[in-house]
């Protein structure tokens, strides 16, 4: 199979997944007892005019099939409906929050991957020693602690008890910071939420890199390298780690679906104005269109990120290009 066909197959699979998500999203919100559509349009926050407008737009006076057509049509134009709690189009609300979430996730993920890979490589290299056992046990423990529980503890200790970090949010309100001061302020606010996410991610990368490393260390080319008399550090860097990293890249994609949970929890605890916090707000306000939008955004993001990672993997793993 050629590389082109590999790409094509991945793109088609991603498109199919998105199509199913779109359909599922429509039906989930209509399977509830008590008809959620009627429920959300009985909301007192919605004015009579916008109600009529929405009814017409979403084809709510039509049968289910008509509603579905209207829903898909609106979605194709990027119209996700109106958020009742914020009195704004859902897409607009989401767009405001996306950069904040990306900032938090990318920062946390990069720190976690770096530390996790280093610790995991050390543990795998020293397989069977005390250090290895310690790193592994610590990782399993860190990985199991719920992010929101850790977040609350951090909040209580480092924001209330010893007030070195802010209580939440992304900037100090009405501070008027600009330039470097603003960056410093945001970093300051980001520390605790990012920390609680990092603790959770690290464990995963340690466990993975470690087992991958142990696997690689048993391969013959490592023995060859050792027989050639290469320095330990060189073998680790050029021969072992390089090959051990391939599964780490794959799992980053698979784990994104999972990682979203950490983001929602951390953003909720620290009132970080991102998409995750939006999920919490939508639930507590019973703002169904907004909740639907948040779900769609996360699902789309994960499918696209997975596609990107599959393609990157195709580029760096020579076996896919030639044979597979």
């Amino acid at each position: 199979m050629g590389f082109k066909r590999f790409i094509l197959r991945k793109v088609v699979a991603a498109a199919l997944t998105i199509a199913v998500i779109v359909c599922a999203n429509f039906f989930i919100f209509r399977m509830a007892p008590g008809d959620p559509v009627r429920m959300m349009f009985r909301d007192p926050r919605v004015s009579a005019e916008s109600l009529d407008l929405m009814k017409e737009k979403f084809g709510l006076d039509k049968p289910l099939s008509g509603q579905f057509v209207a829903y898909v049509k609106n979605l194709a134009q990027g119209d996700l409906g109106l958020s009742f709690s914020q009195q704004k189009p859902v897409l607009e609300v989401l767009a405001e929050r996306i950069p904040n979430t990306l900032l938090l996730v990318v920062t946390a993920l990069m720190i976690a991957i770096f530390l996790g890979v280093v610790l995991g490589a050390v543990a795998g290299w020293m397989n069977g020693t005390r250090l290895d056992t310690f790193i592994l046990t610590a990782s399993v423990t860190m990985y199991s602690i719920p992010t929101f529980a850790l977040g609350i503890v951090l909040l209580l200790v480092f924001a209330y008890l010893i007030p070195i970090f802010p209580l939440g949010g992304i900037t100090t309100p009405a501070s008027g910071y600009e330039g470097f001061d603003l960056i410093k302020d945001v970093g300051w606010h980001m520390f605790l939420p990012a920390f609680s996410i990092v603790i959770w991610y690290i464990g995963e990368y340690v466990i993975l890199t470690r087992s991958s490393m142990i696997d690689v260390m048993g391969q013959e080319y490592i023995t060859t390298a050792q027989a050639k008399g290469l320095k330990k550090y060189k073998i680790l860097k050029n021969h072992a780690l390089r090959n051990a990293l391939l599964p780490v890249i794959t799992i980053t994609g698979v784990n994104l679906a999972f990682a979203v949970a950490g983001v929602i929890e951390a953003e909720t605890v620290f009132a970080w104005p991102g998409v995750g916090r939006l999920a919490y707000d939508a639930v507590s306000q019973r703002d169904y269109p907004l909740l639907q939008g948040v779900f769609m955004l996360f699902a789309f993001a994960i499918v696209l990120a997975n596609l990107a990672i599959d393609l990157i993997y195709g580029f760096i793993d020579p076996r896919i290009k030639v044979g597979g």
Binding site: T141, S144, P146, V153, V254, V260, I264, V283, A299, V303
Partner: protein
């Protein structure tokens, strides 16, 4: 050696290995304490956990009357903590049971029949594994409404694919083994082959999966309740945290925040340790490594 005797020996061997694994032993010991707590909750809890008290008993710190103090509705936190273990463990066990059974069934059918059946079932599994778990659970729980059974349903719906995938790959290798072939030769039906030849060999794997699924279900219940999607008629640890978090007195009432956090963390970490131990022991080659 008779079949029954061989089975008992296997069972004993497993426990010997298990008790030699400090991680697993520690995990199981702590879980046992929580199970005892859940079973004897009515004797350990001092009052009904959801009964509101007198107005002058609001937010009291720990005392001889209220061991862990009271919350903002003057409810006894000690009793809430004790009864909370019931909810976590019930949801954990029931959801894991449903997940493992349905996942195993799908994995067994997909792996055994192969071809078209396998292709279709695995595409469905892939699709589910691609979905963001927590947002999906939030959406479903919000739409279905807050109740314990809905949480169990939601958790099971989201987590069965992992088990299906693991069981399928095991079945793929099992069905090629000689004992399956010989049963087929003496005329066993597909149903018999699947359920009385292959399935018994998947049981250890199901057991390992069950421990992982219990951990995930307990975690999921805690998160959903913390986000305000819990069953309002039964107070779980996650819901206690939700109440503290919303109350605005989180910084002043350490006695209210600490018990649910400590309980959730300890219970989930114990199940993770147990899960790690069980997967370790079931891994081929573990016995040799340990010198058995």
């Amino acid at each position: 050696m008779s079949q029954a005797l061989r089975k008992t020996n296997k069972f004993i061997a497993f426990f010997q290995l298990f008790f030699g694994h400090p991680m697993g032993f520690a995990g199981l010991a702590i879980i046992t304490i929580f199970v005892i707590m859940a079973v004897f909750a009515p004797f350990l809890g001092t009052v009904d956990p959801s009964a509101s008290g007198e107005v002058d008993n609001l937010l009291l710190p720990p005392s001889s009357q209220f061991w862990f103090g009271t919350d903002d509705l003057a409810r006894d936190i000690w009793s809430q903590t004790i009864y909370g273990s019931r909810i976590s463990l019930t949801i954990g066990f029931v959801a894991a049971l449903i997940t493992v059974f349905s996942g195993t069934l799908v994995g067994l059918v997909a792996g055994y029949y192969g071809k078209f059946m396998d292709e279709v079932l695995m595409r469905i599994v892939d699709f589910f594994m691609m979905l963001p778990e927590l947002p999906l659970m939030i959406v479903l729980a919000a739409v279905l409404g807050p109740s314990m059974w809905n949480i169990i349903l939601v958790v099971s719906l989201v987590s069965w694919p992992t088990t299906a995938r693991v069981v399928r790959s095991q079945v793929l290798s099992l069905k090629e083994r000689p004992f399956v072939e010989s049963s087929r030769c003496i005329g066993a039906s597909n149903f018999q082959l699947m359920f009385s030849e292959i399935l018994p060999n998947v049981v250890p794997l199901m057991f390992a999966q069950a421990v992982i699924m219990i951990t995930e279900a307990i975690y999921a219940e805690a998160v959903l309740s913390f986000l305000g999607l819990g069953d309002p008629t039964s107070i779980s640890w996650g819901m206690m945290l939700h109440s503290v978090f919303e109350s605005g007195v989180i910084s002043e009432s350490y006695w209210w925040v600490s018990p649910p956090i400590v309980s959730i963390v300890i219970l989930i970490v114990s199940f993770s340790l147990l899960g790690t131990a069980v997967s370790d022991i079931l891994e081929p080659g573990y016995k040799e490594k340990k010198g058995y």
